[in-house]
Amino acid sequence: MICIGCPMGCVLTVSRDGNGELQVEGATCGRGKAYGIKEMTAPERTVTALVRVEGCRQPLCVKTAKPVPKGKIFEVLESIKAVTAVPPVNIGDVVIPDVCGTGVAVVATRYVRRG
């Protein structure tokens, strides 16, 4: 797999050693090692999406405040799609407090002034 921790893009090989422990080869930093194990056990992604805004054509862009499980990406997108934001909105405002039971909030990443 290719590490995405930084633009280096190290090629990682994750394998299980004799004791059943995951071993990461090819990483040039600690973050790469952690990424390799994470991708094999519980991969996560930060999801960004768009939310309707009342009285405004330009949608509000939002993100999950932390990465969410990769398998839940489309479920998270569906939940975000169902929401309408009401201006004014500030960067960091919570749009959904706990999306799909992940314990992660969806927050605004742009300002929207009052209509």
Partner: protein, 421 residues
């Protein structure tokens, strides 16, 4: 005629950073002119995460990254005049602009910073045969439609070119409910960042067809499909390899071109390699008092480095505006050696105010386990090892200015590992 010290053209990440740096260097009269309705530039439509890892040590979206600089511009009370199109810049730095609010204005600037960014290579530059239906978009235009205008360009999409914007838009269209059938790349490698290939294509099972290209666009009023063919080593389509994709949208992500019409009007000499102005290490072009930074200078992979480079330009523009320039100093030419394309800057000043000199370039091809180095004759100023060098990931180093003392020129080059260092 309106007098300003430092006039910045463009309020994208480059212009914002340059203006802040000029103000911090002591210029009271700094002005930014921006043609869009609001500052932030193209970052405002880049709603995906991945910005600011170097700069802020956290992962921000484009609008968040831009806002940090907009907040500083506002805190410093630097005026940003939006909806203003700069029409002309003369060699003596008279800047003509037009806007609905102010009509035609002429500014006289002690220093000008060019920060106009770049634009996308369009269909017309590719000469794809076929009809000319609706549904052919550059990826950045589609990005603006989706992320800022709230519109969907289509439902079944083929992406030509694996530049970062095409990859990002493959994921965005998938997120918005479209089906992305394939990402087609002429070269045997992608010019996009690794993490974008992984997180925008691989995650969603979108095939990346390397050494393939679109050879025909079908449909009269609207795109109905495209023919894709494999190409050989000389990039010529291989007969018999035709595949037909039924789609309503073709998205192009086939390269960015620095937008330098204004630079040319100002008499600035452009590099045929980068497509941007030739500059020294203070980002000054061949025209005294005219500086350039960001994607108008050369196309960057990471906005973090745009900010750094633009701060250098802003500081130097301020020094020029306040002090009238350094006069004639010896310039050391920087040339591209084997495996190196478009090293910036093209010249290094023997006497500069910053202790550090930043050099960056794009590898000309893919080199595995290779060294790249900065050399003057037999003297190696810097060398570094890379597991892989690819054209998609530019390389950058900051060196002490002292290293360049007394040199007549330096070359930046790639050395394959077979040749022992």
């Amino acid at each position: 005629m309106i007098e300003v010290e430092v006039l910045v053209v463009g309020a994208g990440p480059a212009g914002l950073a340059a203006a802040i740096a000029a103000r911090e260097a002591g210029c009271s009269k700094v002005l930014i002119l921006e043609r869009d309705d609001a500052p932030g530039g193209i970052l405002q439509q880049c709603i995906h995460p991945g910005f600011g890892l170097h700069r802020f040590k956290e992962e921000l979206t484009g609008p968040e990254y831009a806002q940090r600089f907009i907040d500083r511009v506002n805190a410093e009370n630097i005026p940003v005049q939006c909806r203003t199109m700069v029409l002309d810049i003369s060699q003596d730095r008279k800047v003509t602009a037009v806007s609905p609010e102010n009509g035609v204005q002429v500014f006289s600037a002690k220093a000008v910073v060019l920060a106009m960014g770049c634009r996308e290579r369009p269909r017309g530059a590719l000469m794809i045969p076929g009809t000319r239906p609706a549904g052919v978009y550059t990826a950045g235009t589609a990005q603006r439609l989706v992320n800022m205008e709230g519109l969907m360009p289509g439902k079944r999409v083929v992406v030509l070119g694996s530049g970062d914007i095409g990859l990002i838009m493959s994921r965005r269209m998938t997120f918005q409910g479209a089906k992305v059938l394939a990402c087609v790349e002429l070269m045997p490698y992608s010019s996009g960042l690794k993490r974008n290939i992984v997180q925008c294509l691989d995650d969603f099972g979108i095939p990346l067809l390397l050494s393939h290209t679109v050879t025909k666009i079908h449909g009269r009023e609207r795109v109905e499909g495209v023919t894709v063919m494999r190409v050989d080593e000389r990039r010529v389509p291989v007969p018999g390899s035709e595949q037909y994709f039924e789609c309503d949208t073709l998205m192009l992500s086939v390269g960015l071109i620095p937008e330098n019409e204004l630079s040319l009007k100002a008499g600035v000499k452009l590099s045929p390699v980068t497509g941007g102005p030739e500059v020294d290490d203070s980002m000054q072009t061949g025209v005294p008092g005219v500086f350039a930074c960001g994607n108008v200078l050369h196309v960057h992979d990471l906005v973090d480095y745009v900010s750094l480079e633009s701060e250098t330009a802003g500081r130097a523009a301020a020094a020029f505006a306040l002090g009238g320039g350094a006069g004639d100093v010896k310039k050391i030419p920087v040339s591209d050696g084997f495996g190196v394309r478009g090293c910036v800057p093209q010249e290094i000043s023997a006497a500069g105010s910053d202790d550090k000199v930043a050099l960056s370039f794009r590898p000309a091809g893919v080199y595995r386990k290779a060294w790249w180095r900065v050399r003057s004759g037999d003297k190696v100023l810097h060398k570094q090892f890379a597991m892989i060098l690819t054209p998609g990931e530019s390389q950058r180093v900051e060196l002490n200015r002292k290293l360049f003392e007394g040199l007549d020129g330096v070359v930046v080059e790639v050395v394959q590992s077979e040749e022992k260092q």
